[in-house]
């Protein structure tokens, strides 16, 4: 069995599962964000006229993180957040992360950094980028609000079809100024936006083994942009190191790997040794080219952050390139760390000072402008270059703007020049 098959077999109390089997896996962690307001609504609806009390099956397995619109941008959002807080208090949900500088942040950073995700776990989230948590060897996938309400009621996910798995083997060593974001953009371009729909991407190879958990989170985060149900990196020594040293997990953790005779639907092999920095062009994530092909295009707004690339090493790359230099006069640069913890680490390391002195605006931890609901809106005809995960028409709030997606190195080098720039040619240090 593949890793995900092994996880699903364990979670549904079966000796084995095959592709296409329908299982009902017990859920280890059920995550939602502001859309918990809708989950609560649907949850109460399930219990209506049953005579049963509407209580989640196990409040210790619920996680709720405010990140999409923080601090609230409207009375409507603020009222939704207030309703969620009342639910959290009523049910004693400990894994609740409010709008705070100490323990707040984006759900896909908060879960790993607090040790909530373990190898072999089944994680569901009312967010499509829940695929991120495959970075820790968990089977993690996005669901809708009503499905989450069902999980809260039952403790398991109903009618999960065991997905086929594509084995992605990544060899070679990353060249300078090339990283996990370039790899996943390349893969999404190669597979296509629906190339892995109803499939899992299972990552192997020396370049994956050498990649820190932060990079694996970037990789698995965007598996959904190829349509995948989930991405997964089988847990290894790096996973155990991350859980112990960075997530503060004291107890023993058992990695889950694939069986030697695991059956894959197909294999995709990538050698990153000669990979160039990549860029996704408007208006689909799979419209990917080497950055050199669009170099020189003016950029109005640079965004560095998000659940994809708002981690400490992302900010470190940007700070190294921008330290002592200036963001181009006719370009705005917005930086939003993925969590309060990362913000504090970036402060301590001097990255925040480097970025602000270069002209960037460092915002609070959260989803920021990524999904176009909150801040950092674009004007008509403007161009954004962003380390986020989606460039659909209208994604960043204005359907009359253009969005490009890239790595922190490409974003930082382009901020200096004010035009899309290959970081190997310009600004690279």
């Amino acid at each position: 069995m593949t890793v995900v098959q092994r996880i699903l077999a364990r979670a549904s109390g079966r000796a084995s599962v095959a592709v296409g089997d329908v299982v009902e896996p017990a859920v280890d962690l059920a995550m939602s964000h502001e859309n918990a307001a809708l989950v609560i609504n649907q949850f109460r609806e399930i219990f209506r006229d049953t005579g049963l009390e509407a209580r989640p099956w196990d409040p210790s397995r619920l996680a709720i993180i405010f990140d999409h619109r923080v601090p609230a941008e409207s009375p409507k959002t603020a009222t939704n957040q207030k309703r969620v807080r009342e639910f959290v208090a009523a049910h004693g949900i400990a894994k609740f992360h409010d709008i705070r500088g100490d323990r707040g942040g984006i759900c896909h950073q908060i879960l790993p950094e607090n040790g909530y995700v373990r190898p072999g776990a089944v994680v569901v989230g009312t967010d499509s980028h829940t695929t991120s948590h495959g970075a820790l060897g968990a089977f993690a996938f996005g669901i809708g609000a009503t499905e989450m309400a069902s999980v809260w009621a039952l403790g398991y996910a109903v009618n999960v079809e065991v997905p086929a798995t594509i084995k992605v083997t990544v060899s070679g060593a990353m060249p300078p100024m090339v990283g996990p974001k370039d790899l996943i953009l390349y893969l999404v371009g190669k597979l296509g936006a629906a190339g892995a729909t109803f499939r899992v991407l299972e990552f192997h190879g020396p370049a994956i083994r050498a990649m820190p958990t932060s990079g694996r989170l970037t990789l698995c985060n965007m598996a959904v942009e190829a349509g995948a149900t989930s991405g997964i990196v089988p847990a290894d020594a790096e996973t155990l190191r991350y859980l112990k040293e960075e997530a503060g997990v004291g107890e023993a953790v058992e990695p889950v790997g694939p069986d030697a005779d695991a059956v894959y639907e197909r294999a995709v092999d990538v050698d990153v040794s000669a990979l160039a920095p990549q860029i996704a062009c408007p208006h689909t994530v799979d419209n990917v080219r080497p950055v050199g092909e669009v170099a020189g295009r003016h950029v109005d707004q640079i965004v560095i952050g998000s659940c994809t690339n708002g981690r400490l090493d992302d900010l470190a790359v940007a700070a190294r390139i921008l330290k002592g230099r200036k963001v181009a006069a006719d370009t705005r640069m917005l930086v939003f760390p993925a969590s309060g913890r990362i913000y504090r680490q970036a402060l301590a390391a001097g990255y925040v000072a480097d970025l602000v002195e270069a002209g960037a605006v460092v915002m609070n931890a959260g989803c920021g402008p990524c999904l176009g609901v909150h801040e950092g809106a674009l004007g008509d005809g403007e161009v954004a270059l962003s380390t986020t995960n989606r460039n659909f028409k209208g994604r960043m709030g204005n359907p009359a703007s253009d969005g490009y997606l890239c790595s922190p190195a490409v974003a930082a080098a382009s901020a200096l020049a004010g035009v899309i720039t290959d970081p190997r040619a310009e600004g690279g240090r």
Binding site: V22, E34, N35, A37, L38, N41, Q42, E45, I46, F47, R48, T50, L52, H68, R69, E73, S74, K76, T77, N80, G125, T126, D127, S128, T130, G142, I143, G144, A145, T146, E147, A149, S150, A153, L154, V158, N159, E161, A193, A194, T197, F198, G227, T229, T284, L371, G372, V373, R390, F392, K393, G394, R395, G397, P399
Partner: protein, 168 residues
Amino acid sequence: MSAATVVLALGDDVSTDVIYPGRYMATVLPSETPQYAFADLGAFNARLKAGAVPAGSVVVAGKNFGCGSSREQAVSTLKGHELVIVAESFARIFLQNAINLGLRLVEARGVAAAEGDELAVGATEVVNLTSGRRFPATPLPAARQAIIDAGGLIAYTRRRLLARVERR
């Protein structure tokens, strides 16, 4: 199999940002989301809000309809207008959300239709009555059909809960 008019014909990779833009995500209730359906396609949104699109009208699209966000508003907003979605393929979370909320959708490989065409949408076949072309429909897996048959996931889960209580 009943005939219905194609009111909107779209291409591949129609994202949830097109169906229900993120800036309206603070609106969550199915009773309130229909006003923002295809909000950035101004003329079509205006027709929906004016009540000029009859229930059962068809939206036709290419591959990967509903890609992107897990936002359930993208389904409830279409369900609110009782639109029927016929596409070459759907993104996974959108498909599951549609089944959970009872939005009618049909996957039909190679489907081709223009706005104004009349379609007969059946469970096993979609016929374009205007062009005369026929497209086989992919049947839903039994596990998903069970949720539809129960009347959606809320009713399905409620039934499971009550069964569990009775067993005790």
